[in-house]
Amino acid sequence: MPERFVVLRHRELGDLSSLRAYRAAGGYEQLQRAVSTMKPAEVTAVVRASGLRGRGGAGFPTGAKWAFVPDDAGPRYVVVNNDESEPGTFKDHEITLANPHQMLEGAALAAYAVGAETVYVYCRGEFWHEMARLQRAVDDARRAGLLGADLWGRGVRIDVHVVAGAGAYICGEETALLSSLEGDLGQPRLKPPFPTVTGLFGRPTVVNNVETLANVPPIVAHGADWYRSLGTSGSPGTKVFSVSGHVERPGNYELPLGVPFRELLELAGGVWRGRALKAVLPSGASAPAIPAAAVMDLRLDWESVAERGSLLGSASLIVLDETVNMAWVAAMTTRFFEHESCGKCSPCREGTFWLDAVYRRLIGGRARPGDRALLGAIIGQMDGACFCPLGEFAQCVPRSSLADFGQDYDALEAGAGGRPAGGRP
């Protein structure tokens, strides 16, 4: 299946980071058409009909989210989630650098649809210099009259502010992001109420991922039927798949959802060094590992991956070759979650701490009898008990590696080292 560029249009058209290039490619025409000729509800309706689902990981229907915003008086907000931090995910980074205006136009369309005058683009702090480019894009669009007050003489105002986070994976969770944006610790809030009703500053707020919003201008341009001609009925459109790890050509690949993993792997040059595939983590550190035998013909859409007992999430596929010990992989994802647990709830804070402690001694050659059972017991105490998805995701790779790759734990308990062959390509 060939790549199909809806979001990564710069791959075909050349660098779209300048306003001039983006406008030459039809940029901001949809925003102008919407503001000039469409009612806000019509914009929501076309996005809803397209079946667009959130690209940040949850896959929630975008149009439905917008429609939840109540029609009351007072300010409301659109917040762009550019806190891309899932291990293995690097798609929003590319969009921010090479096609930032498409995301900004999508955010402005979202703002128009829900009646928001203010958009905050919350970027992970490590995108420090990338933020300068984004700010430049915002400034250029404002000077050209494409953002700001009284757009196209219709009395519509859309201001965009670029905002920095400061190094906290949890801020990718939408309510933690809002807490951070209010100057607080980045810790999640109880849902409901959902942000669409009680969000930033207690006001209705739509939080959408960068890639999600970059899909919106093409949907408004070409219509819901066109969008549904791509992908599957349950997962319409294209997806930017971030492929990392043991492949010849790691990178972002944009393909219709539902593409078999086999074809994505071929595009990425196959498993590196002529080795065999061992397993794939389909959503970074946050989804159960899928063994090679089960993954090759798996269709990459949210339903198919869920049926296989894993999660497509943000579609960040970490490819693992035959040399890798899966207990080591679980130790690595556990180390990540232990570091990133926000500390709010004890099942996650303590659970990730103890999982990490046990995994460190396992891969350090200091395994104790009963460690595997202990890992299972800790996971059992975390399961369903964590305040937010982070603590639940933390269990995924440990649990699946224990279930499907027990022989790798045998090897560690026998004193074999856990690190992969690794090395530079």
């Binding site: 210099h129 970074g284 690794g422 530079r424």
Partner: protein, 190 residues
């Protein structure tokens, strides 16, 4: 540093940060002000925390809490160049741990330490959202991709030259951002 280090060094930036939010929501600017304060004061000293709290009408204890929570906010002194090596899973699969070892060997320090001349601090960090270009690192939040030994040595030599040229150590902390691809964005105001 004077008690008004943040405002005297970055008055305009502070105003711009505050202007992003409704006046009664000034607390939202906390992270941005802490970034500026750690440049103005070198790191987030008690005075830096006090000044941010004062500008935002917040309890200094709350501001201190933010500094402790977010990993890019620095409560302790650091070298002029803070080098972050991503050693998370996707990077580790492509040689990140070897890169970190080599870097520490070159600088004669361990992860978390600063060189005696105050020029370099090395830290292993979690995912930096650039796994397709591993192994990689950031120097004062600027990316350096696809690193082998030769590329690493060239970068360290460049940094040493830049620091010597600036005639001061450390040359800078995390200053205001600059475009990562200078000249990459056209000015369309004309």
């Amino acid at each position: 540093m004077t008690a008004a280090g943040l405002r005297s060094a970055y008055g305009a930036e502070v105003e711009r940060a505050l202007a992003k939010y409704p006046p009664e929501r000034a607390a939202s600017a906390a992270i941005e002000l802490l970034y500026l304060a750690q440049v103005a004061y070198g790191h987030l000293t008690a005075e830096a925390i006090e000044e941010v709290a004062e500008v935002l009408h917040l309890d200094p204890t709350h501001v201190r809490g933010l500094a402790g929570f977010y990993s890019l906010l620095r409560e302790r002194p650091h070298g002029g160049y803070v080098i972050h090596v991503c050693t998370d899973l996707p990077c580790a699969l492509r040689g990140a741990e070897e890169l970190l070892e080599r870097l520490c060997e070159r600088l004669g320090i361990r992860p978390g330490q600063t060189t005696a001349d105050g020029l370099f601090t090395v830290e292993a960090v979690m995912c930096l959202a650039a796994c397709d270009r591993a192994p990689l690192m950031q120097v004062n939040l600027e990316y350096h991709y696809d690193l082998d030994d030769a590329a690493l040595d060239a970068i360290l030599a460049d940094l040493r030259r830049a620091a010597a040229g600036a005639g001061r150590r450390p040359p800078f902390g995390w200053g205001p951002p600059s475009d990562p691809v200078p000249g990459g964005v056209e000015d369309l105001s004309a």
